[in-house]
Every structure is written in structure tokens, then in C-alpha cells.
Point group: C2
Chain length 204, copies 2
């Protein structure tokens, strides 16, 4: 969709959006790139460049109309389009993600979860139905899902992703600490929590 923006800029857009949403009418109608840069500890030129991708134009000496900038970021990030996602692996992390309410603000809804443990099939978690993995293909089709969250053990991650991709999933958020290969046209983002903590430990 947003092929023209560098990934590093794209990654900052939700940060801008979170910050702008945290402001209130008392903070004023306008906000300058300098104020945003200062609050987020980023360079002002960088902020202006990032925001330009959303086609928001700040006005000299005044800045951006805050609500317009929020709307532009929401539009760019597709927050107003409802996007269905499925989740695979209803273990500890999977259940935590099912209970997590934060996806809605980006227009994303986890519609169903799948697990290979037959004891979990038919139960619900975080208000979401957990189905047997054999029902995954049907669910993806039914909900026209293009996004999937993978929270299975590392050893199962690639085969689960292959199944998902075979059913038309185009974007995978992978929490398994495993390297996933995916064909052209499918995007995989990895969140390796332990590696993030290790990186942090190396930085202090």
C-alpha cells in the first residue's frame, strides 16, 4: 500500500499518532514540527520529512492543525479501514494478545484464533473464539483476513506461516524466535522479545 515511504519513517508514524492523540484541546489547535520533535526527542527536519509522506503540510510559523494531522496519519495508516486478523497459537502470549484492546485504534480486529490443542477448540479467550487449527483455512476465507499474528513455538513457526500464506495471508507478525521465509508479496515482521531485551542489555 504505502510503498513510497521508507520503513524507518513508517515506523515512526504510529509514534506521532500516539503523541498527537494524547494531546487535548487545551494544548491548542496548532502544533509545530518543533514541538513534536521536542516531545519525541527527534530532529525537527526528520519530523517534517516523515509527516510530509502523509501529505500533511504545516503552515510556516503556525504549524499543523492538530486534528487535521491526526486525520492524515489515521488515513495513511489505514485506521479507518476495518482489517481482520487471525491469531495462531493460543498459549500465554497468544491469550495476552487476544485480551489486548489496543488493535482497534488502528482499525484492526482479531476475529478468531487457532490452536492445535484440541482441548482449546471451542473455548473463548479475551472474547475471541479459539478454533482447531484445521478450521483455519475456512476462517481466513470467511473473514477475508489478510493479517495474521503467529504466537506458536519456534519449531512450529515456519509450517504455520506456510499454511497461512497458502490461505492468502499477506502480512505476518511473528513472535516466535524463528526465522521465517516467505515468498515475494508477503511481509513478515518479527518481534523477538528476548532479543530486544538482550539488545537493551548491550546498550546500558
Amino acid at each position: 500500500m504505502n510503498k513510497d515511504i521508507p520503513e524507518i519513517s513508517l515506523q515512526r508514524l504510529p509514534v506521532y499518532l500516539n503523541y498527537l492523540r494524547s494531546l487535548t484541546d487545551e494544548d491548542g489547535k496548532y502544533i509545530s514540527s518543533g514541538a513534536i520533535a521536542g516531545a519525541l526527542n527527534l530532529g525537527e527536519v526528520l519530523v517534517r520529512k516523515d509527516l510530509a509522506y502523509t501529505s500533511s503540510a504545516g503552515r510556516p510559523k503556525v504549524g499543523y492543525v492538530r486534528k487535521e494531522l491526526i486525520a492524515a496519519l489515521e488515513e495513511y495508516l489505514g485506521c479507518n479501514d476495518v482489517k481482520n486478523a487471525v491469531l495462531v497459537g493460543a498459549g500465554g502470549l497468544g491469550n495476552a494478545l487476544l485480551a489486548y484492546g489496543g488493535f482497534g485504534k488502528y482499525g484492526i480486529e482479531i476475529v478468531e484464533a487457532y490452536d492445535c490443542d484440541p482441548k482449546k477448540a471451542g473455548t473463548t479467550s479475551g472474547g475471541k473464539k479459539i478454533c482447531d487449527i484445521s478450521e483455519m483455512a475456512e476462517g481466513i476465507k470467511k473473514y477475508d483476513a489478510r493479517l495474521a499474528i503467529v504466537a506458536v513455538p519456534a519449531a512450529a513457526a515456519q509450517s504455520v506461516c506456510d499454511l497461512l500464506i497458502g490461505e492468502g495471508i499477506k502480512g505476518i507478525l511473528n513472535f516466535a524466535p524463528a526465522l521465517i521465509s516467505a515468498p515475494e508479496g508477503v511481509v513478515v515482521r518479527n518481534i523477538d522479545v528476548a532479543a530486544n531485551l538482550a539488545i537493551l542489555a548491550s546498550m546500558i
Copy 2:
């Protein structure tokens, strides 16, 4: 600690380590930068440059001795130094992280968790003790912890981080979708799961 390496290179080191650890003796004694680059879909020059930070030197036409390279990455990432971490917020995500066994391979141990719900104090989760938040200062001191994982609601994140920093925590892995300000000398890494999924949705 590793101040000389760009963060973007540092972020790839656990990826190399995971990949190299996934190989077996049958994959041979040596591995070339080209083979690593091919498996991870990265440029070969980039791989060589990243690995040079760990002072590993590949041999022309032969490559790296796999086990030596693993040892160099482990050394660089501090996998052999035991580092204690605390966790704040024993909700769904916090409990999933307490049960998660993946930190040990980076030498990190979550020693204790804290929550403000008095009903949780004194219970255990994932084999870890959950204490009342009032016991946090004592626990950080007792375990000489420098790392903390924050898995509290967004509204509580800054005040929790302020407390942690006040007790000597130098690195915070923040899962709350909130902007954390921290003084110089303290590193905060944010994992905003919903934002990651939104970015992914924008890329497909």
C-alpha cells in the same frame, strides 16, 4: 557497553546468533558471509560489516568458524554474563512474559515481578514471585537488577518508569503504548504490538 556499534547493526546480531545456533555439525565447521547473507536475505557486505563489530574475522574463501562466530556473538551480546531483570505489571502480557523461557539464552533472568493489585502479591506466575509494588525498591536492590520490563497500562507507564529509574534501573523494555521520557544514561526500548501490526497492514 557497546557504544561503538550502530543500533541498526546491534539489532541484527541476535538474528545472526539465532540463525547460527539453528545450524548443526552436519552443516559444516565453516560458514561464509555469503551463506549467512543468503539465509537471512541480507547483503553480504552488510553481514561482514555487522560481524566485524564482534571482532570476528572470516577467512578468505573459507568463511567463519561457526562455533567461534557463535562464541563471539554471545560474548558481544553478553549472553554469558548473568543479568537480572524485574517485571512490572503481572496482567495478561506480564504473565505471558514470566512464563516465556527465551530470556535465558541471552543470560537474562527475570527474578521477580511487581503488581499494584494486592490480590496478586505473594502469588507466583511462570515460577516467578509476584510482589506488591511497594516491595519493588527492595527487590531491585537485592537482585542488583539493571533491567526492567514494563507491562502496565499506558496511563501508569511513566510513573512506573520514574520509580524504576529512581531505583537504579538503566534499561527499560516498555510494552505500554505510551511515550516514556527518561534521563540521559537510561535506555528505553518500546514494543508497541498494535503499532507493529498497523505498520504491517500498511505494507501489504
